[in-house]
């Protein structure tokens, strides 16, 4: 009897303690104590988990490394392929831009017919200013045809083979072009030089030539059609003791960046040599 009484008391006390603990827990009074206990458990759990993961990684590393290297090689190949595509597209965009400008130019001068050609080389001698284009007699190109860009006059065809032609630029020392100064309304001769500069010669002393004057082909001599832009005057040298004044010309065409040119195919250069009077013996 006594034994059963004490067991009831024990049960009651246990219940009361449990209930008290629950009440304290739900009331938030055991938060600091439970925090200390769970914090310790989490630390232990983390320690075990991190060691387990490290061991797993160590065991699985060789397989991952091979896979990563393979993937890296694939990506590098893809990157180089994309870089090639980017360069190719940039080149195409550049060519398209040039061709669009040339088409605009040809639309502005519909009386002429043009043949576009790419520049594929230059004369090996640094003294000469010639370019080689990838169109020849198979494309209807003939000696003497003028060569232009959208910026202005570039030169004329000097020699032709079946699939290529050589163009003498107007900067070549042996080149001379009959030009007219638009503002001064006078004719002159534009000659090239070994350095690629163009000089205006045979300008009468009584003509007023100003810096910035536009120079166009005059059409005299029959070598070039009239009214093609050659460049503009950048410097005038006028000495009273000389017969003519001279001027330096800034060419309209950037000859260092020539990539695509237009050949005027319906222009035939006139050979005026037979008309030059010769002395009769």
């Amino acid at each position: 009897m006594k034994n059963q009484f004490s067991r009831t008391i024990q049960t009651t006390i246990t219940f009361l303690i449990t209930a008290g603990v629950l009440v304290l827990a739900f009331g938030g009074y055991l938060r600091s104590a439970s925090g200390a206990v769970t914090g310790g458990l989490v630390s232990v759990q983390y320690w075990f988990a991190s060691r387990t993961q490290a061991i797993q990684q160590f065991l699985a590393a060789p397989g991952d490394l091979i896979a990563l290297r393979t993937r890296n090689a694939e990506l590098e190949a893809q990157v180089s392929q994309l870089q090639t595509q980017v360069i190719d597209l940039q080149q195409r965009a550049n060519e398209t831009e040039i061709l669009a400008a040339l088409v605009d130019f040809s639309r502005a001068s519909p009386e002429s017919s043009y043949k576009a050609a790419s520049v594929i080389g230059r004369d090996p001698s640094p003294f000469l200013h010639y370019i080689i284009i990838d169109s020849g007699s198979n494309d209807g190109i003939q000696r003497g045809m003028p060569v232009v860009t959208n910026e202005g006059l570039a030169g004329r065809i000097d020699a032709v083979i079946s699939d290529a032609a050589r163009v003498q630029l107007i900067t070549d020392p042996a080149s001379s072009v009959n030009v007219t100064l638009r503002n001064a309304a006078t004719d002159a001769l534009a000659v090239g030089s070994v350095t690629g500069d163009i000089e205006l010669q045979q300008i009468s002393q009584d003509v007023s030539v100003e810096q910035g004057d536009i120079i166009l082909t005059s059409g005299l001599g029959g070598g070039f059609p009239a009214d093609l832009i050659v460049g503009q005057v950048v410097n005038v040298r006028k000495l009273p003791a000389e017969l003519f004044q001279q001027a330096t010309v800034q060419p309209a065409v950037d000859f260092s960046r020539l990539q695509i040119v237009l050949v005027i195919t319906n222009f035939r250069a006139i050979n005026t040599v037979p008309l030059v009077p010769t002395a009769i013996p």
Binding site: P126, I132, A174, T195, S256
Partner: protein, 166 residues
């Protein structure tokens, strides 16, 4: 048979000269890789075909250039003859001989061109030709002389294998 390497090699040199080197001038001068190749080839000890190479190179360059072929024939043959003369005298220092031949060959070829232009084009300023074309070209040719000489030595070892190498 291996001497036929001259055709693709000189052809490649002419293409490189026309398509690439011409676009990278120093002032108004450009490197002449064909001339440097000929000089380097003629300075190799075992080479016996340098004059043939000079004539072949002159023909190839004449196809591209508007200069008369005579200028290239005379210029390139002179370069090779000078190289052969120097090879016998300064054989212990081939690089010195290479620089001398490159310098003298460039000046000679440009002098021939200048004389031709003076007759055909009329007025060519000597100061411009010398200061803006010839001297920069000499400098560029000197720069490419060292790698070209090494390359041509390897080519000569391949064309004329020595007893040890064989």
């Amino acid at each position: 048979m291996r001497n036929f390497i001259a055709i693709p090699l000189l052809g490649l040199a002419v293409i490189v000269q026309s398509a690439i080197l011409g676009q990278f001038p120093l002032l108004s001068g450009t490197a002449d890789v064909v001339l440097v190749v000929l000089a380097a080839w003629a300075l190799q000890e075992s080479v016996t075909t340098s004059l043939h190479w000079a004539l072949l190179a002159a023909v190839m360059v004449s196809l591209v250039s508007s200069l008369p072929w005579v200028i290239y024939v005379v210029g390139y043959v002179s370069v090779v003859v000078l190289a052969l003369l120097l090879q016998r005298r300064v054989w212990q220092v081939p690089m010195l001989a290479m620089f001398i031949v490159t310098f003298a060959g460039t000046v000679l070829l440009h002098a021939l061109t200048y004389v031709y232009l003076s007759f055909s084009a009329g007025r060519v300023a000597l100061s411009d030709a010398l200061g803006l074309v010839t001297l920069p070209s000499v400098l560029l040719n000197m720069l490419i002389a060292i790698p070209v000489f090494g390359f041509m030595r390897d080519v000569s070892n391949w064309v004329y294998p020595t007893a040890e190498a064989a």
